[in-house]
């Protein structure tokens, strides 16, 4: 099962580091990262493999959301199926 992580917010040092450290702790493998910064606005998308996470998917969602609140950015984790259904036939 794959998940999509999106991070939106004002750019600062260490956003990716914090997210990646957390994911490594939870045994979540990163498959793809793309990132852009437009006018100091940080916009990142990650595709992650959540086949064998240390915690339940629900808890990962909550943790990442709280991690985002801590550094002032919005972090979302969603099941990839919502995007596959809407954009692929």
């Amino acid at each position: 099962m794959k998940g999509i992580i999106t991070v939106l917010g004002k750019d600062q040092v260490g956003i990716i580091a914090k997210v990646c450290t957390y994911l490594a702790e939870q045994n979540v493998n990163i498959l793809d990262i793309s990132q852009t910064i437009v006018q100091d606005y940080f916009n990142m998308m990650m595709i992650v493999d959540i086949a064998k996470p240390a915690k339940a998917f629900e808890d990962l969602i909550t943790d990442l959301h709280e991690l985002g609140l801590g550094i002032g950015v919005e972090i979302k984790l969603q099941h990839e199926d919502i995007f596959n259904s809407m954009h692929r036939i």
Binding site: I4, T6, D32, S34, M45, I47, F57, E58, I61, K76, Q78, H79, E80, D81, I82, F83, N84, S85, M86, H87
Partner: protein
């Protein structure tokens, strides 16, 4: 692999354009609850609903989090009580409505539909008792919704029931007069009612449906509106294509949620209802779509055409996105639940007569319209007869959900609260139709019903 653009598009639809799954509705058959003793019947009904729907709300909330898409309502529809309660020996069905209300509260759903009767060709004794119980049932319960089917393209129109429902709507209004006649917002009179509609207040679990199933209603007027803003001056081909593409994506989200919910709850997936259902929130409005299409206000000349285009293309886009499409499937035009419709009424752009014309091409009918509190039962029956005739002749579902607001007159505001919104009281044609309505009997089925 999914691209960043696609992820962004979905998430913008959700966060800025109010894309959501409007309702997950669990249909539950009560056919096996029959018993002559009212207490035992009520206990069986309560036990069955609370057992099957125990995890409905939790499952909805889990899916909401996992996919990151809001699922606004979790609801229940049951076998029309006039059928399920047939064997019960009693002189009122109000205690059954109270039982349904308790069950709905226990499992945490905000509405439960099915305090209903299907009388398109005539009444059973049970139908009669149910209809007589409606005003009190809606006054003493909070979450129970009621509907009565008084006509169909196959059977014609039961004019005795039309007349009766005019009286029932008035009594319901009077019994809830202290709450701006709120009871009437939970009562729908149908022609050609559908058996798997997930939307309230007209949902019930028809006799042809399985033991238990999940039906899902999608929405997304905000998404359609934003997509059309991108093609503002384009021709009708582009307009229609844009609506279709958007409806496709919206429906796919609903299909995913429906299948996943059905799987987790261990019940079959019934169908997706492809409806554009507005809410009172700004930006979640059908009438705002009309503005983007080029009409100054809903009700301006061209509105019926605009609605026909919208309705047809929502269906064309949605049908391919889902394996089973059912329910009402189209654009809803409730007045009180749509901010820009309310504005159109207040500016004098939209009248009851124009709304009636619009119901010839939309998915349902005269919906959530506040009318003066002194409107007579026969006038309400006349309006019901007109809507039923449109449905019967055009082979479509039509409905009437009128609220005669006791103590209020044209221009005053009726407040219903929450998703039901508020509505300005609209004027009604005052010429008499009582001798017509009072004739009684049945209107025979139209000629095109004989298809065999």
């Amino acid at each position: 692999m999914i691209s960043k653009f696609e992820v962004q598009e979905t998430n913008t639809m959700i966060s800025e354009m109010k894309l959501d799954v409007r309702t997950i509705t669990m249909g539950i058959s009560l056919m096996d609850c029959g018993h002559s003793d009212l207490k035992i019947f009520n206990q069986k009904v309560y036990d069955k609903i609370t057992r099957l729907a125990e995890k409905l709300v939790k499952t909805g909330e889990d899916l909401e989090r996992q996919f990151g898409i809001p699922i606004i309502n979790k609801r229940i529809s049951v076998t029309p009580i006039a059928i399920a309660a047939g064997p019960v020996e009693t002189n009122s069905y109000v205690p059954i409505a109270e039982t349904l209300d308790r069950a709905a509260r226990e499992v945490g759903v905000n509405f439960l539909g099915g305090f209903s009767a299907l009388v398109q060709k005539g009444y059973t004794d049970s139908d009669r008792m149910l209809i007589d119980s409606i005003p009190e049932a809606l006054a003493v319960t909070e979450r129970v919704c009621s509907s009565v089917n008084i006509g169909s393209s196959r059977s014609g129109i039961n004019m005795d029931a039309v007349k009766k429902m005019g009286e029932i709507i008035r009594q319901t209004a009077e019994l809830t007069a202290d709450r701006d006649s709120l009871g009437c917002s939970k009562l729908v009179v149908f022609c050609n009612a559908v058996e798997d509609n997930p939307f309230m207040a007209g949902a019930f679990h028809g006799p042809g449906e399985p033991e238990c199933e999940i039906n899902v209603g999608v929405s997304g007027p905000g998404v359609v509106k934003r997509a059309l803003e991108e093609v503002k001056d384009a021709d009708f081909e582009t307009l229609c294509e844009t609506i279709k593409r958007t409806a496709f994506k919206v429906t796919r989200a609903g299909q995913l949620v429906a299948q996943e919910a059905a799987k987790r709850l261990g019940v079959p997936f019934g169908s997706i209802d492809l409806s554009l259902a507005p809410t009172p929130a700004v930006g979640d409005s059908i009438a705002e779509i009309f503005r983007v299409m080029g009409l100054e206000e809903a009700g301006a000349p061209g509105t019926t055409a605009a609605l026909a285009i919208l309705n047809d293309n929502v269906k064309k886009g949605g049908v391919m996105a889902s394996s089973y499409v059912g329910g009402l499937s189209g654009a809803f035009i409730p007045v009180s639940e749509d901010q820009a419709m309310i504005e159109a009424v207040q500016r004098g752009a939209l009248t009851l007569e124009k709304l009636e014309a619009m119901t010839c091409v939309c998915s349902v009918g005269l919906d959530m319209i506040a009318i003066p509190g002194d409107t007579s039962a026969s006038t309400i029956a006349g309006i019901i007869a007109d809507e039923a005739a449109i449905g019967m002749v055009n082979n479509k579902t039509t409905a009437v959900r009128l609220i005669p607001v006791i103590g209020k007159d044209v221009g005053e505001i009726a407040e219903f609260g929450g998703l039901l919104g508020y509505a300005p009281v609209m004027p009604v044609n005052r010429f008499d139709c009582a001798p017509f309505v009072n004739r009684g009997g049945r209107v025979p089925a139209p000629i095109h019903s004989f298809k065999n």
